[in-house]
Symmetry: C2
Subunit: 201 residues, 2 copies
């Protein structure tokens, strides 16, 4: 993208980043979209989480900064451009995930001008650490959204991967810390799919 | 989605909306993503615009409320779930576009609880009217983003549709009202693709 614009080195960097992260549209997840027609990608997932952050902020366990939370979820999966999507229940991939993602964060966010690179890196670190209310809520949404979609496609992805209740509960260990009421809601969906034998109880 | 949750009629409506708008992932546009491998859909496009609103707000012609602008772009294409994507240079489709989209807005936003339905409808109306600074900037991003992607895929979509400079300038009549500097930047990309014969000058 470089070379357009006049006194534009800052804008050139921003535009280069905006085009680089277009690649997130090619990173597929294990979640099916509406109708189970195909799997979701990270851009679609991030759009969905930002919308959920906007609509469901009232259910966070404490007050949150909605703009910060939306920004966090918009960028939370960008590291997967280099590191790939590590499926939730892939224990082999999980072992090297942190290292791969840290390296990716170093490269990708640093395409931006320094101030924005630092802001995005801080925001991503905050999401990964999950200590603040915003990051607890963002992490809760990140775990709940695929469950909503799995429900919408009648548990297809759970069945394909022979997922157990134990795996889901482990993965959702901290979901209630973001939102007790959204976790209650989600738990009922899970129970329903145990009854339907889509999740191994 | 109904039936989960305890005293949850409000949350049921919100969740029903969140699942209904998943369909936006199936609405394809005429823009190619990175590498020209396939066309972009509305969810991916909306994610990209929200990110751009966050990163590029400094170039708006006047101060903007970033949260409001991000929210606006996240929802601006939801009406296409019912109305479909009307390609930018489809004059036949354009004639019935407004009516189809108004009907869609009535149905889709009203899935939400009343306060949120009204807020989203107001936000969408504001985007369509393009009178406020936020909506001018959001509309500018909505026009600029496909141009950035067309550039990234070497003008493939412009060539396929035999697009003329006149069509692009007409479509971008108000882009400079959102951001004069982003329009300058974009104009240089357009000029470059006239030189390359990807746009008919």
């Amino acid at each position: 993208m470089k070379g357009y614009g006049k006194v534009m080195s800052r804008l050139d960097k921003q535009m280069e980043f905006i085009m680089e992260v277009d690649k997130i549209k090619t990173i597929n997840r294990q979640t099916y979209i509406t109708g189970g027609v195909r799997k979701e990608n990270d851009a679609e997932h991030s759009w969905h989480l930002a919308l959920m952050a906007l609509l469901l902020s009232e259910y966070a366990n404490d007050d949150i900064d909605v703009l910060k939370t939306m920004s966090m979820v918009l960028i939370h999966d960008m590291v997967e451009i280099d590191a790939g999507d590590t499926y939730a229940f892939d224990s082999v991939g999980a072992a090297s995930k942190e290292e791969r993602e840290l390296k990716a964060a170093d490269r990708i966010f640093n395409i931006l001008p320094k101030d924005q690179a630092e802001y995005f890196r801080k925001l991503w670190d905050e999401f990964e650490e999950g200590e603040t209310m915003e990051s607890k809520f963002a992490n809760a949404l990140d775990k709940i959204q695929p469950i909503l979609l799995h429900n919408l496609s009648d548990g297809k992805s759970w069945r394909e991967h022979k997922v157990t209740l134990e795996q889901i509960l482990k993965r959702n260990e901290f979901t209630k810390d973001g939102s007790a009421s959204l976790w209650d809601y989600t738990k009922e969906i899970i129970d329903d799919h145990i009854d339907k034998k889509n999740i191994i109880g």
